[in-house]
């Protein structure tokens, strides 16, 4: 099973949101990292077939998804960034509705709804009105609906945005549990979401693909670029203006700065083991400054 993106470009007016993207996915979890406005959501939408590329094509098992049409939509599950619900529907009814949209037979749908509700831990809320749910619960309803048709391709756009830490961990485990035999595409700007479960991490920046590697490889690429340095309070300003500072910690009198830099920022600087957070900063510095 593979999903291939060929030369996909999407522009809105003059603005190119996606620029000549080429990618190939096989089974496993793929994390798509990118800042806001990097084109993550657009890419997800194109893969979910709710948007069409301005040029370029997407192939599923070598067949154009536009030609496959409903056959393609039959194998995908999509959780959009903003989870829409019918406020006055109960969870169960809402999921039954989506199941019917996905073409599940009634009996099959009933079983499946029970199953996914169990999976996302909403079993005891099955009669509750979706409109009254908290953001995290709505998100879980969204995840549940995406799983209803046992999708071969699961596309989840910033799924952990509204979740609390406990729910995030639960969701992460859920994803890695179901990711065998599936392509799971997960976009996020929370690095820890994908750190351990992603088979490969894609980095999108201003509509372009900058990196596509396993997390290990990616980390290796910035191996010698993460440093810690102990400085006085008065020096912080200087380092912040000159380097990407990912963290400022206090250690008694001194301050510990974690710095991402191609060169050694200070003679006393010590090399550190990079994590994905550093990687993210390495590519998207603007927001931290």
């Amino acid at each position: 099973m593979n999903l291939t993106i060929e030369n996909v470009t999407k522009s809105f007016g003059d603005k190119k949101v996606l620029n000549e993207i080429n990618l190939e996915f096989t089974t496993g979890v793929y994390g798509i990292l990118g800042a806001n406005g990097s084109g993550k959501t657009t890419l997800m939408r194109i893969l979910a077939s709710v948007m069409k590329p301005s040029s370029g094509k997407v192939f599923f098992n070598t067949q154009d998804i536009e030609v496959l049409d409903q056959k393609y939509r039959d194998v995908i599950g999509y959780l959009p960034q903003h989870v829409g619900v019918y406020k006055s529907f109960s969870t169960e009814k809402f999921l039954m509705y989506i199941a019917s949209l996905k073409g599940l037979k009634k009996e099959e749908a009933k079983e499946k709804v029970t199953e996914v509700l169990e999976l996302v831990g909403l079993s005891e809320h099955r009669k509750g009105k979706v409109g009254k749910f908290s953001g995290g619960m709505k998100q879980r309803v969204g995840i549940a609906q995406a799983l209803l048709n046992d999708p071969m391709v699961l596309i989840v756009d910033e799924p952990t945005a509204g979740l609390d830490p406990k729910e995030r961990i639960r969701f992460r485990n859920l994803l890695s549990k179901i990711s065998t035999n599936r392509i799971v595409l997960l976009s996020t700007h929370i690095v820890s979401d994908i750190e351990f479960i992603a088979r490969e991490v894609l980095i999108l920046k201003e509509g372009k693909l900058v990196q596509k590697e396993t997390p290990k490889e990616l980390l290796r690429s910035i191996k010698d670029k993460v440093w810690t340095v102990f400085v006085d309070e008065s020096e912080i300003q200087y380092f912040q203006s000159k380097y990407k500072v990912s963290n400022i910690g206090r250690d008694q009198e001194k301050f510990q700065l974690r710095i991402i830099s191609d060169s050694k920022p200070h003679q006393n600087a010590q090399n550190e083991i990079p994590n994905l957070e550093d990687l993210y900063l390495y590519y998207f510095d603007e927001e931290v400054a």
Binding site: R45, A48, V50, I76, Y78, M96, I98, G103
Partner: protein, 367 residues
């Protein structure tokens, strides 16, 4: 099937449709209630049957007597008619009215002998097998037919506008469109479900007001006279169609329903294009009401006016299709207006479905 059920469920959960329906039905009664009395019916019954020379004579005499009586009374104390006399007067008038229908038809026939238009033969043929002479009390059917052509527009129109305008826009505004567009049956199958649900809704609406119509008017004016011809009702005085009230009522309902179906599909289409339910609502409302405003406001030449009359509001009204002999010249071959209307509505509906299915197939989410 499941999808259709859900669409219906969503539609009928809108409480406002029940509220609107009840309110509109209430106002359509005009808050008047007059029940026909038995003696009135009995008076009519004396005259029931085909109108013979003898009856015409009697009516004539009766009329004269009454007029004379009235003149005397006016001089005496100003008192005009008793209720019985009023009813009798009505009967005499109707009879003379009915005689005139045939007279008119015959005059028209002789006039037609001299003409030779593309549609002359058709009109002649229609006027020849034409028998309107059966007289009976028929106020009930008249009222029923009137309700089904005038109030029906408001009821069906308003109910469709309110109930269906949001059929797609609610998906866009609730954000569920993301799921819908990315799911297997979310495009074409869902459209079919929505269209079917809309048609069922339309059908239910029409049946609902028709039941009220029958109940309300038959209870007030009686159930007699369905076999009298439609020309007895003044609106169809010049109609060349030889239908009785019952036949006409069915045809009327049929055409109304067809136009309503087509309008329902149009609303689905507009709703699928618009992101904002309010805009969808206004566009639909405008499409429905504008032809009426144009025809009523502007003094258009007949030919142009008829173009606007082939719009939803007028076809749902049905009246103009049958009130005169009107044909459409199809390469020298005359086609009666009702036929044109039916074909037109079917064609429009199919085109609308095609366009809509194209739109939902290509639909993308917007931000």
């Amino acid at each position: 099937m499941q999808l259709l059920k859900f669409e219906l469920y969503k539609m009928y959960r809108q409480k406002i449709i029940y509220f609107t329906f009840i309110l509109l039905v209430l106002f359509s009664t005009g808050f008047t209630f007059n029940r026909i009395t038995d003696w009135e019916k009995d008076l009519y019954r004396e005259w029931e049957g085909p109108i013979s020379e003898e009856k015409i004579q009697l009516a004539h005499q009766g009329n004269e007597e009454l007029t004379k009586k009235m003149d005397e009374r006016v001089e005496e104390d100003g008192f005009v008619y008793s209720e019985t006399e009023q009813t009798k007067m009505g009967i005499y008038e109707t009879i003379s009215f009915i005689i005139n229908i045939e007279k008119n038809a015959n005059e028209k026939l002789s006039k037609l002998e001299k003409e030779n238009n593309y549609n002359t033969d058709l009109e002649k043929a229609m006027l020849k097998d034409f028998d309107t002479s059966y007289f009976a009390y028929n106020k009930g059917p008249e009222k029923v037919i009137d309700y089904a052509s005038v109030y029906s527009i408001f009821l069906t129109g308003a109910m469709l506008l309110i109930g269906l305008s949001t059929i797609y826009t609610q998906e866009y505004s609730s954000g569920v469109d993301n799921y819908i567009l990315s799911s297997k049956k979310g495009r074409v199958s869902l459209l079919w479900a929505k269209v079917s649900a809309s048609l069922i809704y339309t059908f239910v609406i029409v049946i609902a007001w028709e039941l009220f119509n029958l109940g309300w008017n038959v209870f007030q004016f009686g159930n007699e006279g369905w076999d009298t011809s439609i020309q007895h009702y003044f609106k169809y005085y010049f109609s060349p169609y030889s239908f009785n009230m019952l036949e006409y009522h069915f045809i009327q309902l049929g055409i109304h329903l067809l136009a309503a179906f087509s309008f329902a599909i149009l609303i689905v289409l507009i709703s699928s294009i618009c992101k904002n339910s309010l805009i969808a609502f206004f566009i639909n409302g405008a499409i429905f009401a504008t032809p009426y405003l144009i025809v009523e406001m502007l003094m258009l030449p007949n030919g142009v006016e008829d173009i606007f009359r082939f719009s939803y509001i007028y076809i749902m009204n049905v009246e103009f299709l049958f009130d005169h002999f009107k044909t459409f010249n199809f390469f020298g071959y005359p086609i009666l207006y009702p036929v044109v209307a039916i074909v037109w509505m079917v064609v429009v509906s199919m085109a609308l479905v095609l366009v809509t299915s194209h739109i939902v197939r290509k639909r993308e989410v917007t931000v």
